[in-house]
Subunit: 145 residues, 4 copies
């Protein structure tokens, strides 16, 4: 399956349907089954002790998957997250940028599954790992089975 959108098309589409999101997330790399996106934590994301909140990491993993699926199956803004399993591995640093690397493991007739690693600043090892399942609206991805 080839990519259906370029980084630019993806950015425009996300800006249109999720204006509140597009200002904060920067797509860095897009490849077949792979997307890397960066996010700079804001004050709201910070937790006591200079860490970043779990929901912030979850949101980043979720958005990386949403964007990767968009790029692969084309504009399907009704694709929804049906489940997520996330492990918090290390303490992210509040003042450093986060990067999520999303690998798409499957795009089936009704479900898509990804695996995401989240990194913080220059820490070499991931601060979180997540896998997400998305439900794909009928008729949209049938060709990719």
């Amino acid at each position: 399956m080839d990519l259906k959108m370029t980084v630019e098309e993806l950015n425009s589409y996300v800006a249109e349907i999720f204006p509140q999101v597009s200002d904060f997330y920067t797509i860095e790399k897009l490849d077949k089954n792979f997307l890397r996106v960066k996010y700079m934590p804001t004050e709201r994301d910070v937790r006591p002790g200079g860490s970043v909140s779990g929901p912030t990491l979850f949101a980043l993993a979720d958005i990386s998957t949403f964007m990767a699926l968009l790029a692969m199956i084309g504009p399907v803004h009704l694709a929804v997250t049906t489940s997520c399993s996330i492990d918090f591995l290390r303490k992210p640093r509040a003042e450093e940028i986060l990067a999520a690397e999303c690998r798409v493991l499957k795009i089936g007739r009704v479900l898509a599954v990804s695996d995401v690693l989240v990194f913080s600043g220059h820490i070499r090892e991931p601060v979180a790992r997540a896998s997400l399942t998305y439900s794909i609206p009928p008729g949209k991805a049938r060709e990719f089975e």
Copy 2:
């Protein structure tokens, strides 16, 4: 194991360590191994189509567990989420209050595990199900094994 805190003590403690949180979450019920907490979605939590964002549901499940553990093992603000598995079951309604019911399944020497159902307004069936694992600082919960 008896409860270590009343709803009032819990509210004061959370207001002190998480002032940004305490204004929005209302503990409704607290019992041995059980806590119910409510949260009214704000504009930021809303998604296109009148739904509530996944990170909002995740945050509510996480906070319900954090509060339930606090009530059971006493003030341990270093307890941290190590993992979460969450299923999104139905569409919550943006304009209705959310309620999380947290059941504590285990408080061990180093780990605690909960099971959470999230409800939206008057929909009888849960909109999400989550299980969370918390890591407990050494020496804190040893007595409960």
Copy 3:
């Protein structure tokens, strides 16, 4: 949604399609959205220290969900497990019978989700907690949405 099968019909059906399974699992209770099934560990299931293997607990949680869904949507032997999240909470006893209590949280158009607690002998608290997602063949459960 009413039950589509009685305990007897469910037992016969499972005996027919999974003969290797039906000798070992005993359905104890069946209700709307609820099923309890028992399993006596065999030598193969035992681990050093008198415990029961993780795969045995996983298999029991999986089968409890499979049976509960069968009872609710009728014979659909193509329903398949798409994901499972399981927490091992306490050490089961090798010489005691296991019981899984499965609650069906959702039966949607394409997915069904359950929550399972596994008990061992007379230990009052669960030895494991699992949630499972099943994919339902198209056309089968559409009426239950």
Copy 4:
């Protein structure tokens, strides 16, 4: 952290503590934070339609992590699985060998986390993805934090 055991030492150790396991699993590759192990499904593992059972895939993912941790922290046969999240992505083939590739994402003071992909025969894409958390006995892995 350097490896504490060679493939040969790991094989001997597993043969000693898990004789029922060592005949069926073949370690193919061992590296820092990485292990690949193969398993040929037996008649018991097969499901109607020529597939392999979920518990078989779960067991393989679990054993790959157990072996990888042994190789990295040395003989710690009390390390136990505390949780697993697994996605079943494609149908494995009953008559083909399975291979699990385990990446160790974290070895902390009390917890270790892995990410596993399971492959079947010559299918290029994974048939399952799993992440596992192990609890490490106190005093064993403190040096690796």
